[in-house]
Amino acid sequence: MGKEPFVVLMAEDDEHDIVATKRAWKKHHVANPLYIVNDGEACLDYLYGKGKYGEPGAAPRPGIVLLDIKMPKLDGLSVLKQIRGDKALRRLPVIILTTSKAEEDRFRSYDLGANAYIVKPVGFENFSQAVRMINLFWQLVELPD
């Protein structure tokens, strides 16, 4: 304990879910900085520090990535694949946070190396609790780097 809170990168396209997440962050006084990207491409740009994230400090390295599957341009699983394929990013903890209950998505996520697969709880209360728990968990855990 006594660590610096890590950065959380969230890739999510649904504006309402983003609102709900931000609200949950505030409600539970989550100390971790939250950065949000809206599609798969933007996510990779952020991670590589490319494009509009080229400025120094524009894209602080995240401790964990919360990744939705259904996103425009590049979808979550493709992003995951890229991350796991890149030597520099390989170890990054990726949590798939999605509405999909589908088995195939779950299987594929774990096959591609996701660290966890969480189905977004219905109702905000539950959702914010889940967010809180995710953060608590990853506070406890030793991050790779």
């Binding site: 649904d14 309402h16 879910d17 609102v19 709900a20 609200r23 509405t99 219905v122 109702g123 905000f124 209360e125």
Partner: protein, 693 residues
């Protein structure tokens, strides 16, 4: 006697010894010595020897000195035993006369005795031998068998019989080699046996062999041989008999015995055959008698009149039925010609009689006869020839069935028949008209059937279209409900956020609006959720799996987490069925939840079971809930159909629609039995619950 020495002897002492010696001398037992007694002296005139000498005419004296004067006296034997006498004689006798004193005489006597005994014995032996030899010779010569002695392989002795057997004379045989008399083929045999016998080995004493006659003929000999001693050397004593005839006779006997045996066996066979034939014949006779008895009994019992005639047409026998119908008894007809044929029926009757006597039999010939009291009745006649025990024609047997009744019936029948014909004609005409009518109707119906078939086909097409449309609709509903979920969730969240943030600021009424908004959204979410579920029923083709229905249901009930005041009863016996699991789960889940929900009983009870039916089984879910009015039994399975307001019971009205859709996907059906206040029972029939057809 010519060679014997003559010795003139005188005896002094005429005692018993003297006599004995005198006997001896007289007997001339001594072969080499001829003793001539010329005198005997003794003082005693009564001496035995003296008396004996006198009898024999021999010179006697009382004084022994007288003896000296005897001419040519060679020897004086002194037998007195007195020594003075011996001395005196010795002194006084002339020198040329020898003196044998009593001692010597005694010695001489003993020797003579021994010799005499030997000679006597020898003579006896010789006599005995001669006798036995005679006997033996007689025996041998008189024997019927041939006797011989074979020594050194020659015949040294034989009897006439022996020689005769071989066709020789005795003289020819004696000295002949014995092998000459044996058949060449048997010589080795006989030689072997003889050699062995001579060596003392154990060979049969009696055996048969072939001999050879002088003429060269072969004869059969049986012989009995033994070893004897002949003239100091071993020889074979044999005893033979010619058994040639015997052998021939034996052969002939054997032959005739065989023939006799054959003849005997044959005769036994014939005897057996004859016996069995006799038995058979007796059996046949018995059977015939028995069957005759049976027939007699049958005739007696026959309900039809039966008459038996002899060859001349006289009655022999009528049965009780005859007496009953015609009136005459058996006694009345016996020996009489039957006089019951009406005049006009005679010709045909005669024909019948002739036929029967010729050996033909027939049945069913109709005729008429009188009865005893004059009635005429119609009869149907069957007749045949009647054979006796030996199979010869003995008469005829006639059965006369009374057909009067039948005739009457026939007449009535004919009348009825005519009437019938008339009516039939009438009817036929009518029928022809009706047939025409029918033809028209039939063609009309064909037309209709065709129309029906076409309509049916259309219907099927429409049903297929409908199904397709339903599927499309389902898909659409799925997509829509799926995509509606997210916006609805967002609305609800924002509603929650607003309420949270503005709780202090807003007034009571505005807060109610927000609450209302929240509730609406929730309803919308529920609706969309249920619709999604409904549309998803059977969307993915699901394979059937084999499940134990009992286990499946128990797991399902457990997973529903029903409230504790709900009791679920299940039977113990559940079948194993092939079914789409997900669909079945949806059906039973919804029905069970409904059964618990629409229930106001204090002790809520749900029963799950399997009802046996004609075709198999039906699953049922029974509750003691509020029940459903029969008016709505069809309606309730519709989409979004509810019988209660939201205040009474929550729900979207899709539960039973889901059940119906799922059951349909499983190719089964669902029905309900229910009355308000009496609970409900839902019955589900599924293909795998039906018995194989």
């Amino acid at each position: 006697m010519e060679n014997a020495k003559t010795l003139n002897v005188a005896i002094v002492g005429g005692g018993p010894g003297c006599k004995a010696i005198m006997d001896m001398i007289f007997a001339e037992k001594l072969h080499q010595l001829h003793m001539n007694l010329i005198g005997v002296a003794d003082r005693n005139p009564d001496a035995m020897g003296l008396v004996y000498a006198k009898e024999k005419g021999v010179f006697t004296t009382y004084d022994h000195r007288d003896l000296y004067k005897l001419e040519n006296l060679n020897l004086i034997i002194e037998l007195t035993g007195h020594e003075e006498v011996t001395n005196q004689i010795a002194l006084t006798k002339p020198e040329h006369i020898r003196l044998m004193d009593h001692v010597c005489a005694r010695l001489f006597w003993d020797v003579f005795q021994i010799e005499e005994r030997m000679i006597a014995e020898q003579k006896l032996a010789e006599k005995a031998l001669r006798k036995s030899e005679e006997k033996y010779s007689t025996l041998v010569e008189n024997s019927l068998t041939g006797i011989y002695i074979d020594q050194d392989a020659r015949i040294v002795l034989c009897n006439d019989q022996f020689a005769e057997i071989y066709g020789y004379s005795k003289a020819e045989v004696i000295g002949m080699e014995s092998r000459k008399l044996v058949h060449p083929e048997d010589r080795v045999l006989t030689n072997n046996i003889r050699t062995k016998r001579m060596q003392g080995e154990d060979v049969p004493s009696e055996y048969e062999a072939r001999g050879l006659t002088k003429k060269g003929e072969t004869i059969w000999i049986t012989r009995r041989n033994t070893i004897v001693d002949y003239q100091g050397k071993p020889a074979i004593l044999g005893n033979i008999a010619d058994i040639t005839q015997h052998k021939r006779a034996e052969a002939a006997l054997r032959d005739s015995m065989q023939r006799l045996q054959v003849a005997y066996d044959q005769s036994i066979m014939y005897a057996r055959q004859l016996k069995s034939e006799t038995v058979e014949r007796k059996q046949a006779e018995a059977a015939l008698r028995e069957s005759q008895e049976q027939y007699r009994t049958v005739l007696e019992a026959s309900p039809d009149p039966v008459v038996v005639y002899d060859m001349e047409g006289k009655g022999i026998y009528v049965n009780p039925a005859f007496t009953r119908v015609f009136g005459w008894t058996s006694e009345e007809v016996l020996g009489e010609k039957m006089g019951y044929v009406p005049g006009e029926n005679w010709p045909e009757t005669q024909v019948m009689i002739d036929k029967v006597l010729a050996g033909e039999s027939f049945t069913g010939v109709e005729s008429r006869r009188h009865t005893k009291d004059g009635h005429i009745i119609y009869v149907s006649i069957s007749a045949g020839i009647y054979l006796d025990a030996r199979g010869a024609s003995a008469g005829s047997i006639h059965i006369l069935r009374d057909i009067s009744e039948r005739k009457r019936v026939e007449a009535a029948l004919r009348e009825a028949h005519d009437e019938l014909e008339r009516r039939v004609e009438e009817r036929t005409a009518k029928l022809a008209r009706a047939t025409e009518q029918l033809k028209l109707e039939l063609s009309e119906r064909k037309r209709m059937e065709e129309a029906l078939r076409l309509a049916h086909r259309d219907l099927r097409v429409k049903a297929a279209d409908l199904e397709a449309a339903n599927e499309e609709l389902s898909q659409y509903a799925y997509v829509v409900s799926h995509d509606l979920k997210a916006p609805l969730r967002a609305i609800r969240n924002y509603t929650d956020f607003l309420r949270e943030d503005l709780e202090d600021i807003l007034e009571g009424e505005q807060l109610t609006y927000l609450d209302g908004l929240k509730r609406s959204v929730r309803q919308g979410e529920e609706l969309v959720g249920d619709l999604l579920e409904f549309s998803r029923v059977g969307m993915a083709a699901e394979p059937k799996v084999s499940i134990d229905l009992g286990v499946f249901l128990r797991e399902l009930i457990a997973s529903l987490s029903l409230p504790s005041d709900v009791e679920v009863a299940m039977g113990d016996e559940w079948p194993t069925i092939e079914v789409e699991q997900t669909l079945l789960r949806q059906v039973l889940q919804n029905l069970t939840v409904n059964a618990a929900k629409f229930n106001t009983a204090e002790r809520k009870r749900i029963e799950l079971g399997c009802l046996p039916t004609e075709g198999g089984y039906q699953l049922f879910v029974r509750d003691n809930g509020i029940g459903i009015d029969p008016r709505y039994h069809d309606q309730i399975f519709g989409v979004f159909q509810r019988l209660h307001t939201r205040e009474e019971y929550e729900g979207t009205g899709l539960g039973l629609a889901i059940v119906k859709k799922a059951v349909a996907k499983m190719h089964g059906w669902v029905r309900i039995e229910s009355e308000p206040g009496l609970g409900s029972t839902f019955f589900i029939a599924l293909p795998s619950l039906q018995k194989e057809s």
